[in-house]
């Protein structure tokens, strides 16, 4: 059974999208699909000299949860590197399993996903943007190596 999975804050995060679109000259790109539903997230990034994200843009064709996650992640992405994104995704997965706020300390926006804890099949929707952004950052790193 589903209850309060779609709080107003979640719907707002999904519709109030930040950093949507394309970068004119990305250092790295990635597009990943959710294998269960075909949803797609695409990221463009540029990196600074320390391999941290300087700029980010994304395109999302996905559910409300995935849209909200991509929007929130994009807003915090600048200054992160691939390893940090992967570690943050691990932290978020662990937090989703417990559902206890704060899910990501220092990023209260992600607490809209506390309601997802009862819906294991939807974790992938929240995490797909993280996997894609990490892949884009690694793509950029590989190209500069």
């Amino acid at each position: 059974m589903t209850d309060d999975l779609y709080p107003r804050d979640m719907l707002r995060a999904a519709s109030d999208v930040s950093r949507q679109g394309e970068l004119p000259a990305p250092d790295g790109t990635a597009a990943l699909d959710n294998p269960f539903c075909g949803d797609r997230v695409e990221y463009d990034v540029t990196l600074d000299e320390g391999h941290k994200i300087r700029a980010v843009r994304h395109r999302v064709h996905a559910c409300v949860l995935c849209q909200a996650s991509a929007s929130l992640l994009s807003a915090m992405a600048e200054g992160l590197d691939a390893e940090t994104i992967a570690a943050t995704a691990e932290d978020l997965l662990a937090a989703l399993k417990t559902g206890e706020a704060p899910l990501l300390p220092g990023h209260p926006g992600f607490d809209v996903f506390t309601s997802v804890t009862k819906h294991r099949a939807r974790f992938a929707c929240v995490l797909l943007p993280f996997e894609t952004l990490e892949a884009a950052a690694r793509d950029a790193g590989n190209k500069s190596a």
Partner: protein
């Protein structure tokens, strides 16, 4: 026995049928009844199947065709009887019926075994309507053996494009098609396809996963060469399915998997193999699930599916009309808009509302739907969408299930498209 011939059918009543499914008798949450409309993904298990499996595992459990003690005899008899029951449901001989781990395994068996007899440059024709289970094994075979993969297109209504078929079969040695699409619900004119394929020198494999739960299948009348079914769609346990193959084809096919059960004689250097169907059943078979599948086929053979399908066609119309009224121009049906030659299955998109979000919101009312690409990504790409929402019915569904679904759609529209 075909289409229930010779079977005493029980009078059809959705309410009486529903009462035979334990899972449908309990609320999914306090005060919220279950409206199960995800039968295309997995069929629920009736009491008759549960009882057969429990009886087997508690009274007859043993390995088959090895020991001679009483339990082993009972298990062997039960396994053989299950093969007879499944064969009867398909109107074929049990000698030509192979138990597999499911539809996917059955298709992989044919792809590996029959596929090994194809020659480089031969072609395999696969329709764009196919479930991944009837597409990916052929892609893999084509890559392995240097074969051509030919696309059989679908019409805008999600039916196999029969007009395009004659021009696409040159050089084709195998045609892989679904008996009924798990997305559009369209029923394929299999006999016509198989006849054209045969004239072109090709054999035809038919995926019967969606069709078989809607009544006994007269496989010989279809004229196909391979027919596969999935146990869990029929309400049997997971991990069981069946492959029927034309006898001369099975006889010419090499084994797929090696091990016990499938051999005639083993020497250190090499082995000889049993005749079909045992040749294709390596290792201890899934005996309990096979007993369950046999029981499921007996159960379904006892349903008046002609009456059930008339009832379900009316429910399909009620659902389509209800969606049109509530969604207006936002609605897009992924499949035919009419009721002819289709399963009681409706896939659709609502502009601005994601299928997973729709399904999640309907779950609040106990309505179980499926959202996503339904393992048919190529078909969804042809429609220009990533996924759809699907309601798939079984003979026990009633108007209350459809009305709960439509009420849930109103919820979804209110929440997702305020």
């Amino acid at each position: 026995m075909g289409r229930g011939e010779g079977v005493n059918l029980m009078p059809y009543s959705p309410a009486l049928l529903k009462a035979q499914y334990p899972i449908l008798s309990e609320d999914i949450a306090p005060g919220v009844p279950l409206h199960y409309l995800d039968n295309g993904a997995t069929g629920q298990m009736p009491r008759a199947v549960l009882d057969a499996v429990v009886t087997h595992e508690t009274r007859n459990r043993a390995n088959v065709k090895r020991s001679v003690h009483t339990l082993a005899e009972r298990a062997t008899n039960a396994y053989d009887a299950a093969r007879e029951d499944v064969a009867a449901y398909l109107n074929v001989s049990a000698r030509d019926l192979v138990f597999t781990a499911g539809c996917t395994m059955a298709i992989n068996l044919v792809a590996h075994s029959y596929g090994s007899l194809l020659r480089e440059g031969d072609a395999i024709a696969v329709s764009t309507l196919e479930h991944h289970a009837n597409m990916v094994p052929w892609q893999m075979l084509a890559a392995r053996r240097g074969l051509r993969l030919v696309r059989l297109p679908a019409t805008a209504e999600g039916r196999l494009d029969m007009d395009a078929l004659p021009g696409l079969l040159d050089g084709v040695r195998l045609v892989a098609i679904t008996h009924a699409s798990n997305v559009t619900g369209a029923i394929t004119p299999v006999a016509e396809v198989a006849a054209q394929a045969r004239a072109a020198g090709a054999v035809t494999l038919v995926d019967g996963a969606q069709m078989a739960p809607h009544g006994p299948v007269d496989v010989p009348a279809l004229g196909c060469d391979f027919y596969v079914i999935s146990g869990h769609k029929l309400g049997a346990p997971n991990g069981i399915g069946a492959l029927w193959g034309r006898r001369e084809l099975l006889a010419a096919m090499p084994p797929f998997l090696g091990g016990g059960e499938m051999i005639r004689s083993v020497r250190f250097e090499s082995s000889t193999y049993a005749r079909p169907p045992q040749r294709f059943e390596a290792g201890t078979p899934p005996i309990g699930p096979a007993v369950g599948l046999g029981a499921a086929c007996r159960f379904h053979a006892g349903i008046d599916h002609a009456a059930a399908n008339r009832h379900l066609a009316a429910l399909t119309g009620r659902l389509i009309e209800g969606l049109r009224q509530r969604c207006g121009d936002r609605l897009r049906l992924i499949g035919p808009g009419d009721l002819a030659d289709r399963l009681p299955l409706v896939s659709f998109t609502i502009k601005g509302a994601h299928p997973h979000d729709i399904c999640q919101i309907l779950d609040r009312r106990g309505v179980a739907l499926r959202g996503g690409h339904h393992c048919a990504q190529v078909l969804h790409e042809a429609y220009g969408v990533a996924g759809s929402t699907r309601a798939s019915m079984a003979a026990f569904n009633d108007a209350g299930d459809i009305d709960a679904c439509l009420a849930g759609i109103e919820d979804a529209l209110r929440i997702l498209l305020p």
